[in-house]
């Protein structure tokens, strides 16, 4: 009986490990709550938002993002300056050791330039995030309002 329970527990662990790999957890960085707004126009850029959680003991950096949803994908930040909100590209997005960085409207975001298809509510968009230490992390971005 004891042996059967052990097998069940091990199988469950294996299933969990497999699921964890495909949902954006790898090498110490977890990506969650990834979403993007439906696109108003095909010829305008889209923005994707998410939470980057660094489980490691050293700072990591999001260096770039790849995906077939857009011709060019950049990292951008909206900042206030002189009462105005200004958006500019940033070279990378740091994620503190054992901490998190939130990409959210009015702040940091992944900018999708030259959309290859419409961002429609309910769709999922696959992106690959490249981190300095954690390497490639696949993410499914949900399109919603």
């Amino acid at each position: 009986m004891k042996q059967v329970s052990m097998v069940v527990v091990m199988l469950a662990a294996l299933v969990l490990a497999a699921c964890g790999g495909s949902s954006g957890t790898t090498n110490g960085v977890t990506v969650s709550e990834a979403w993007a707004r439906p696109s108003p126009m095909m010829d305008r850029a889209g923005a994707a938002y998410m939470v980057l959680q660094n489980n490691g003991a050293a700072e990591d950096k999001l260096l770039s993002v790849e995906g077939d949803i857009a011709q060019t994908i950049e990292l951008h930040e909206t900042k206030e300056s002189g009462g105005m909100l200004a958006m500019s590209p940033v070279p990378n997005i740091p994620v503190p050791a054992r901490g998190k960085t939130e990409l959210k409207p009015g702040g940091l975001h992944v900018m999708l330039i030259g959309l290859t298809r419409e961002l429609k509510a309910g769709d999922k968009v696959q992106l690959t995030l490249n981190f300095e230490k954690a390497g490639k992390v696949p993410v499914a971005v949900e399109v919603r309002e």
Partner: protein, 198 residues
């Protein structure tokens, strides 16, 4: 003594019922809203005061804006949905501060994404750089072209407030960027129920 307590509690109750914590900031003094004429999303001249008789939610932005402007317009869509989903009491007006790139057609397509739920369509206004500069200055809107090196071309830095104009065409309130739809809707509903409120 008991009577004094009773009166005190009644006063507190009365004040609680009558006060409303506004999320927006009222201009001091409240006065006529500045008026301007620009080109609407159909390519025709449009004067803001043509909307006299309706509540106007006025915002400035640009269609190459993937972050701030969709946030503002989705909030204004939600305000309309909360306060006046089937009616024509509340109108949303979006004015470009990027006259170099934004045409009536791009304004139509951009605002048309946010007004799908409503019979009454949002207005998307554009104009010449001079006309836009004048219309922005009237509401103390600041904007600036920024070459950022992005593949998306230049970006526009801009103030991102929302202005509320009442049916008598008075400028009633300014909402700072980031004030949520529910908060704007609560202020608007309070004004609708208490037209004399300041």
């Amino acid at each position: 003594m008991k009577l004094r307590w009773l009166i005190g509690w009644m006063l507190i109750g009365w004040l609680a019922a009558c006060t409303h914590n506004f999320s927006g900031v009222a201009p001091n003094p409240i006065g006529p809203a500045p008026d301007f004429t620009l080109i609407d999303e159909t390519g025709r001249p449009f004067q803001l005061s043509d909307l006299r008789g309706q509540w106007i939610l006025l915002a400035y932005g640009y269609t190459h804006c993937p972050d701030v402007c969709p946030l503002t317009l989705s909030y204004l869509r939600d305000v309309k949905q909360i306060v006046d989903p089937n009616g024509d009491r509340v109108q949303v007006v979006f004015v470009t501060i990027d006259p170099e790139r934004d045409t009536p057609d791009s304004m139509r397509r951009y605002v048309g994404h946010f007004d799908k739920l409503f019979d009454q369509k949002f207005k998307g206004l554009s104009g010449t750089p001079e006309e836009i500069a004048a219309a922005a200055q009237l509401y103390q809107v600041k904007y600036e072209k920024k070459e950022t090196g992005s593949a998306d071309g230049y970006s526009m830095a801009h103030t991102a407030e929302v202005y509320l104009i009442d049916p008598q065409f008075n400028w009633r309130m300014t909402f700072p960027f980031g004030i949520k739809a529910e908060e704007i809707a609560a202020d608007l509903q309070y004004f609708m129920q208490n037209p004399e409120a300041k």
